[in-house]
């Protein structure tokens, strides 16, 4: 192995971009890395770590300001085309032509790579079989689901066997089922063709599959090694805390997250709290913090090491926004009282149906959400969860069924029902060129706040969410944009908050902070409905519902859902895949029987 030269050798790479405030931000800051041929190498790191910049540089699309970069034994800066002729690259957005069919997309890339006729036929047949897209060759790529687009994107980059495959966050915004399929394909090609793959990812379970893992943050390499070597860094520090009776896991988790001196990281999982203790933590302080919770040691995981490395790095670099403690909104008596008055469910859904022409996006769905509950809506891409979600917040009329939100019928009193809800959309829906204060004032006005009340609410929101009123909204880091969006959605003190994939695209530390805010709101009596792709986030929910193909497959507490899936352990991801696959198998059987 050591005799073979590295396929990618980077030495002291540096690249800066202009930052929001006009200053320079280093995307790569003296990065040095070697990648061995014939294996999977992962780049892991939060947003802004420099993963995409590095991959683009390897692809010859960006020029380093300093340092050298050898790819396939060539200086990629001097001869980018020579490298580009031999590699394949799938950018984050897959590079598909929406108005061309699946087959036409494949043909185009095969022609561009000059794949000859015979080889092409074999390759296409294999790719279509692996991606399970053979049935859809005539369909325009724009009409494929997110997961299918991703697989087609991969097939297009693999129309020939490259000497190096670059995948830039191939599974962002893709559901667990599609993610698993994608990795199956990549793994198969590595095994059969000794393909060399450089993949960037934010998912630790994906990094776990790679031979080498490089942890990046802010343009620097924090650590590297095989998954085993990295895992070992957290050995002996990882535990499960079982909360005493009467205490919710997320309440205990909130306490622990608030104590960075003793605890590196804590997340709720399966009714317990998974946490990493600080190596030098004070035993007594930790004991008080645990408040009688039972401690179970657990096996360390890659995620643990990753979180440790990130926290360390955040602590070392002062002024890191991710290092700031999670903002917990101050308790507001007015808000706390409102939902308590309603004794029954705050959201009541009965036989909800939504059709688009002949297509049933949501089939006869019923459920209730209680005041102060955190309710998670999960499902693969195209499952109907976005449609359900939009109906709940009154953005989309239902075809039939009953829909009460906050005690008002959404179908007849939509405007009034809306006044009682807050909505934070998936994309950043605020005005990027307005300042933080201007955005808040605008949205407050849109919700009917005026004069002194508006001023007071904006001031409170700025303080609660630790926002700089003068900053230009579009220039905020992702985590802060998320805070601003939350602040805007909460200005009118709604009793119900709708969050549509609020944490996609923000790094793990910011995600922890974000959920800390959510759990605090819930403690104040605010009802939260949330959709998410991160299955581990389902653990923060009181109850979750899983949808697929418009049908509600299961509703229950995370524990009940795991029990239903019958999977051992606490892995929400596996439970999710299990439940969706069981339902799909049942449906296939029913169709076969009919």
């Amino acid at each position: 192995m050591s005799a073979r030269p590295p396929i990618v050798a980077a030495e002291g790479l540096r690249k800066t971009f202009e930052g929001p405030d006009g200053g320079e931000v280093a995307a790569l800051d003296g990065l040095t890395l070697q990648m061995r041929p014939g294996e999977l190498t992962a780049l892991v790191g939060p947003d802004g770590a420099g993963k995409t910049t590095l991959i683009r540089m390897v692809a010859g699309l960006l020029r380093p300001e300093a340092g050298t970069l050898q790819v396939l034994g060539r200086d990629v800066t001097a001869d980018p085309q020579g490298v580009q002729d031999r590699i394949s690259y799938m950018p984050q957005r897959f590079g598909l032509y929406d108005d061309l069919s699946v087959q036409e997309n494949l043909d185009l890339y095969a022609d561009l790579h000059g794949v000859p006729g015979e080889e092409r036929r074999e390759r296409f047949a294999r790719m279509l079989e692996m991606t399970d897209l053979a049935r859809f060759t005539a369909r325009p790529a724009g009409k494929l689901s997110g997961g299918m687009k991703q697989k087609l994107g991969l097939a297009c980059t693999l129309v020939r066997s490259p000497e190096l495959l670059l995948l830039d966050e191939p599974s962002v915004g893709v559901d667990p089922l599609s993610r698993r399929d994608l990795w199956k394909i990549v793994q198969q090609l590595v095994d059969e063709e000794q393909l060399s793959v450089l993949v960037s990812t934010a998912y630790m379970d994906e990094a776990e599959r790679c031979a080498q893992v490089w942890v990046l943050n802010r343009g620097k390499v924090l650590d590297r090694g095989t998954p085993e070597e990295l895992r070992a860094r957290a050995r002996g520090l990882t535990f499960l805390a079982v909360p005493p009776a009467g205490m919710r896991a997320r309440e205990l988790q909130a306490r622990m997250v608030d104590a960075p001196r003793e605890v590196v990281d804590a997340v709720p999982a399966g009714g317990r709290v998974r946490f990493i203790r600080q190596p030098g933590a004070d035993e007594a302080a930790l004991g008080t913090l645990l408040a009688g919770a039972e401690l179970l040691p657990r096996e360390e995981e890659l995620e643990d090491t990753f979180m440790m490395l990130l926290r360390q790095h955040a602590a070392e670099t002062a002024g890191d926004p991710a290092a700031a403690p999670a903002p917990a909104p101050a308790l507001d008596p007015a808000r706390g009282a409102a939902p308590a008055a309603a004794a029954g469910p705050v959201i009541e859904v009965r036989d909800l149906v939504r059709k688009f022409g002949d297509f049933t996006a949501v089939a006869s769905t019923s459920f209730d959400v209680m005041p102060g509950e955190i309710f998670g809506l999960l499902g693969p891409n195209g499952a109907g969860k976005t449609t359900t979600f939009r109906m709940l917040c009154g953005l989309l009329p239902a075809t039939s069924g009953k829909l009460d939100v906050g005690g008002r019928d959404l179908r007849s009193a939509r405007a009034r029902a809306r006044a009682g809800i807050g909505y934070v959309s998936q994309k950043f829906a605020l005005y990027g060129n307005l300042s933080v204060r201007e955005n808040l004032e605008f949205f407050g006005g849109a919700y009917g706040l005026r004069g002194r009340a508006l001023k007071a609410r904006v001031a409170a929101a700025l303080e609660e969410f630790e926002l700089d009123p003068g900053a230009r909204s579009g220039d905020l880091p992702a985590g802060y944009k998320q805070r601003l969006a939350m602040a805007a959605g909460l200005l009118h003190q709604p009793g119900i908050l709708f969050l549509d994939e609020p944490t996609s695209g923000i790094d793990p530390l910011a995600r922890r902070a974000f959920w800390r805010t959510i759990t605090a709101l819930s403690a104040q009596g605010v009802t939260v409905i949330v959709t998410t792709h991160f299955m581990e986030e389902a653990e923060y929910c009181d109850r979750i519902a899983i949808q697929d193909a418009g049908e509600m497959l299961i509703i229950g507490t995370p524990r009940e859902v795991r029990a239903e899936a019958g999977t051992a352990g606490t892995d929400m991801n596996a439970a999710f895949i299990g439940i969706v696959e069981q339902a799909r198998a049942r449906r296939r059987d029913a169709e076969a029987a009919a």
Binding site: A59, L61, Q84, P91, R93, L96, D99, L108
Partner: protein, 376 residues
């Protein structure tokens, strides 16, 4: 080997562009429907000719010779006289915009006629100076014959002695039809439009949808991208050109005195320039909205305002004349009008073709540079 690679990639990319073009209905609307609308609009709707200009005729002298003189107005297609009794009423009609001119035959018309110095007064509504000058020439033309006859009858000698008659002829556009010069100009506009509205979106769209990044990391060369994007739109432009030529010939009956080969050849060259400019803007802006706005501002608007399409460039300030000389549309506009109405002027054809070819080469080279495979 390398050439065959280029050719097969070029074919694949052109096929892709053509498919995308045909599948986007708005493309076809802009490519075919808009030119058709423009042709009909400019051919029928827009005309600088004055037809049925209303003239208020105030007969302050009601003698037979005076009436004979005024009757000259009735025979013309272009004028429709209204007989008014008082000057005051005529002025009111002028104020209200009901008439374009007032013709006053004064009290002393007969007496002055006897003296050989008969005069009538023509008051023009100068709000629209184009119309006013047309009406002026129509009225003086219409009155010339009866005035000559009157002069003849009263005293032949007086008329023949010391009076010169101007025999007027307009060359190239004998009937003075404005469609004759509007329709050739329309070809310039429509070929400009295809570039400004269609190709200006092409590269920006690839940037916006993230496909550019994928294309870059293939063996594709920048020039192949440029050429494959030009090819399908050259076809659309050629069809538009055929539409323009057919309507010019058979619908508006504009003469085509130059050779068809010259007209088509120069037009296709200009089309290439127009498409390349659109592509360059698209490649430089990387944003569809900004690119289309900039393309409209830098190619379509100047082609209307500054190319000599409507306004004679000799009458504009020097600065604008200089600017207009930098527009490929100006050179093409001058040549295409000559080709339609005057005939083949080979030195002019070669000169303009050379200018347009130079533009095409420069624009394509710049676009190729803007597409160098770099993201920063």
């Amino acid at each position: 080997m390398r050439l065959s690679g280029t050719l097969s990639r070029l074919a694949a990319l052109t096929r892709k562009e053509t498919r995308q073009m045909l599948r986007d209905r708005s493309n076809l609307m802009v490519g075919f429907l808009l030119p058709l609308v423009l042709i009909l609009l400019f051919g029928y709707g827009l005309s600088f000719d004055v037809k049925d200009a209303r003239i208020a005729v105030v007969m302050q002298n009601d003698s037979l010779p005076a009436r004979e003189a005024a009757m000259g107005l009735t025979g013309s297609d272009y004028l429709s006289p209204v007989w008014i009794h008082s000057m005051q009423q005529a002025e009111e009609m002028m104020m209200a915009g009901e008439v374009d001119a007032i013709l006053r035959v004064p009290h002393d018309f007969l007496r002055q006629l006897a003296l050989g110095d008969a005069r009538v007064q023509l008051i023009l509504n100068g709000v629209d100076s184009n119309t006013a000058s047309s009406v002026e020439s129509y009225v003086s033309g219409a009155l010339a014959v009866p005035f000559a006859q009157l002069a003849d009858r009263r005293g032949g000698k007086a008329a023949s002695s010391g009076q010169a008659v101007i025999v007027q002829r307009t060359w190239f556009n004998e009937p003075g039809e404005s469609t004759w010069f509007l329709v050739p100009g329309l070809i310039v506009l429509i070929l400009t439009l295809v570039g400004a509205l269609l190709t200006s979106l092409l590269v920006a769209r690839e940037w916006e949808r993230g496909t550019m990044e994928s294309l870059f990391v293939t063996p594709v060369r920048p020039l192949e991208l440029v050429l494959s994007k030009l090819a399908p739109y050259m076809v659309i432009g050629a069809i538009d050109l055929a539409m323009c030529l057919a309507t010019a010939r058979w619908l508006f009956e504009v003469p085509m005195r130059g050779s068809l080969a010259a007209i088509v050849g120069v037009s296709m060259l200009y089309l290439l320039v127009s498409l390349s400019l659109g592509l360059l803007i698209s490649a430089a802006m990387r944003n569809q909205f900004a690119a289309s706005q900039l393309a409209l501002l830098t190619s379509f608007m100047p082609a209307i305002m500054l190319s000599g399409f409507v306004f004679d460039l000799r009458n504009v300030p020097v600065v604008i004349q200089v600017v207009s000389q930098f527009l490929p549309a100006t050179h093409f506009m001058g040549l295409i009008k000559t080709l339609f109405m005057a005939g083949d002027n080979w030195p002019e054809i070669w000169r303009t073709s050379a200018i347009l070819a130079l533009y095409a080469v420069i624009l394509i080279a710049l676009t190729r540079r803007a597409l160098k495979k770099k993201l920063d």
